[in-house]
Amino acid sequence: MKHVEDALLVILLLALVVFAGAQIGARNLFDAGWIWGEQLVRVGVLWVGLLGAVVASRDDRHLRIDVVPRLLPPRGQVACAVIAHGVSAGVCAVIAWHAGEFVLAEREYGAAGIGAVSGWVLQAVMPVAFALMAMRHAAHVLRATARW
């Protein structure tokens, strides 16, 4: 799982770098960019960002204020970690659920995508990423309780 996420993230980022560069080169040098190219780059940013967020959840590296937990005794730190990851897991799960409903509705409706790719496929990264994040944070809760 870990390797799949990492590999996907790295491949997507490299594709984004090469494609965004080629796109701009083509537009400026030959005056012939692709209409769907810019859309693809923008969606690529969403995908790379959300996959990066999944890895940040896994490695517990999201931005946070960690003044109070640092001042607490070990058990207090465990309690803070449980609260932090518990809240994160819950929020991610709720977002994943509603994002899933949104994607299904878009599929039903047949929202426009890029070329032959339907809109809902491009949006599907949202529920998937938040579901993965919810699982990661739930796993962190379990790991933290083991330290009690």
């Binding site: 990492d6 590999a7 993230l9 790295v10 980022l13 490299l14 984004l16 770098v17 090469v18 965004a20 560069g21 796109q23 701009i24 080169g25 400026n28 810019e38 780059v41 923008r42 690529g44 940013v45 969403l46 790379v48 960002g49 959300l50 996959l51 990066g52 967020a53 999944v54 890895v55 940040a56 490695d59 590296r61 999201h62 931005l63 946070r64 204020i65 960690d66 003044v67 109070v68 937990p69 803070c80 970690a81 609260i83 932090a84 809240v87 994160s88 929020v91 991610c92 709720v94 977002i95 509603h98 994002a99 409903e101 949104f102 994607v103 509705a105 491009l122 949006q123 949202m126 529920p127």
Partner: protein
């Protein structure tokens, strides 16, 4: 109000900020009976902003550069160009760090990548230990105001989303930051000159062969600042175009020519850079959901009316804003602060007639100070860790630099022309 206090308490207990913001947005929208699919709709707006691609691309390029031999070459090049002047080495350190931080986005990478080269060099050249430590600590966030710094891009994106007052583009912000950023570098360089007056000998005169050698060595990196700074400041290309070219250039040079980062290490460098980007983008995406609720509920308008009832003139407002931002800066990192605080502050500040570009520069100048203040000053921790010094020693060493930057920040705040000079 109760919800806001609970969210604040959760944030202080160390709940990741994206989850706090997401929870706030969920509760707010659910509270007025709106379908929570709205969160996904707002989140997908991340895929509708062309300028946003600059964030992953510049971060990628910055991380890859810092893993290569570029930091060493940058120091040697600036040394060859500036090192012969009185107070030269301090100036070298400041200039190199500012340039490097602009590329890597003030995440402390500069202290690790450049500080390790500059600190011993400063000590060897006879600079006092405290001065040297303070300088490298400060350098971790100096350069925040120069293109293509990530926080400037992020501020531009956030303000554009608000759609209040006159629109401001990221290009304009890059131009606005130039003079204030130079002011900071020059002030600190002057301090370096004063501290070392009479003690540090000039080591050599201007040496042409040294310059030529350094230029030849850095031949693949030298085009970068010209492409980015020249291209953007000169208005030749858009920010996202400069980002795409930079990223592709750095990748090609690193993979095909330099080969300083082993291929096996490349994936982990890429992943590291995207952990930061993911953290920023998920906060940005969810905060768009919470911000659009706030706008829907008329909160910025209420906030403005409340503030205007208490503060009548612009100067007092700016003074209070500075104090508020300094406190915010001690708690929040620059990315979270930009996404969370700007949507609340900007509508009020703009209503007082403050230019959005000026607001951005003074906002980031204040946040830069936050990197050097306890309890969460990132620069302090990284320098303490990197140079194996107690944190209070690092703080004392950085204090004169902090005070100078505070003076610069006040100057920037109350003298808008500094920021607006290159715009109008």
């Amino acid at each position: 109000m109760v919800i806001a206090l609970i969210l604040l308490a959760l944030a202080l207990l160390g709940v990741p900020l994206f989850a706090v913001i997401g929870l706030g947005a969920l509760l707010a929208w659910a509270g007025i009976g709106v379908d929570l699919q709205v969160i996904a709709i707002e989140l997908f707006r991340l895929a509708e902003m062309p300028v946003l691609v600059a964030i992953p691309l510049f971060t990628f390029a910055g991380y890859l550069l810092s893993e290569s031999g570029a930091p060493g070459r940058l120091v040697r090049l600036t040394d060859a160009l500036l090192g012969w002047m009185p107070g030269g080495l301090a100036f070298v350190a400041l200039a190199a760090c500012a340039l490097f931080t602009a590329f890597t986005g003030a995440t402390g990478v500069t202290i690790i990548a450049l500080g390790a080269l500059l600190y011993p060099a400063l000590r060897e050249a006879g600079y006092p230990e405290r001065f040297s430590l303070g300088l490298v600590t400060t350098s971790g966030s100096l350069g925040l105001l120069f293109a293509p710094s990530l926080p400037l891009i992020l501020y531009g994106v956030v303000v554009q989303q608000l759609q209040v007052g006159q629109p401001v583009s990221v290009d304009e912000l890059f131009r606005a930051g130039l003079v204030p950023g130079l002011l900071m570098v020059v002030l600190l360089a002057g301090y370096g000159l004063w501290v070392t007056r009479g003690t540090v000998q000039r080591s050599r005169g201007f040496d042409r062969t040294l310059v030529l050698a350094a230029v030849r060595e850095s031949v693949w990196e030298i085009p970068l600042p010209f492409v980015i700074l020249g291209g953007i400041y000169g208005g030749y290309f858009a920010v996202s175009e400069a980002a795409a070219m930079t990223a592709l250039w750095v990748l090609a040079v690193e993979l095909l020519i330099r080969r300083e980062v082993p291929l096996a290490r490349l994936p982990s460098v890429l992943r590291e850079s995207m952990v930061l980007v993911g953290g920023i983008l998920v906060i940005l995406g969810l905060s768009m959901a919470s911000t659009s609720y706030l706008i829907d509920a008329g909160v910025p308008q209420q906030l403005f009316e409340t503030v205007q009832g208490l503060v009548s003139d612009r100067t007092t407002f700016l003074l209070l804003l500075t104090i508020f931002l300094l406190i915010v800066g001690t708690m929040l990192d620059v990315f979270s602060a930009t996404v969370l605080i700007v949507p609340l502050v900007a509508p009020v500040a703009l209503a007082y007639g403050i230019h959005p570009a000026h607001l951005g520069i003074l906002f980031l100048a204040n946040m830069q100070l936050g990197y050097m203040t306890p309890p969460v000053g990132l620069n302090l921790f990284i320098a303490a860790y990197r140079f194996e010094q107690p944190i209070h020693t690092v703080f004392r060493a950085a204090l004169p630099f902090f005070l100078l930057l505070l003076a610069a920040t006040l100057l920037i705040t109350f003298w808008p022309a500094l920021s607006l000079w290159l715009i109008d």
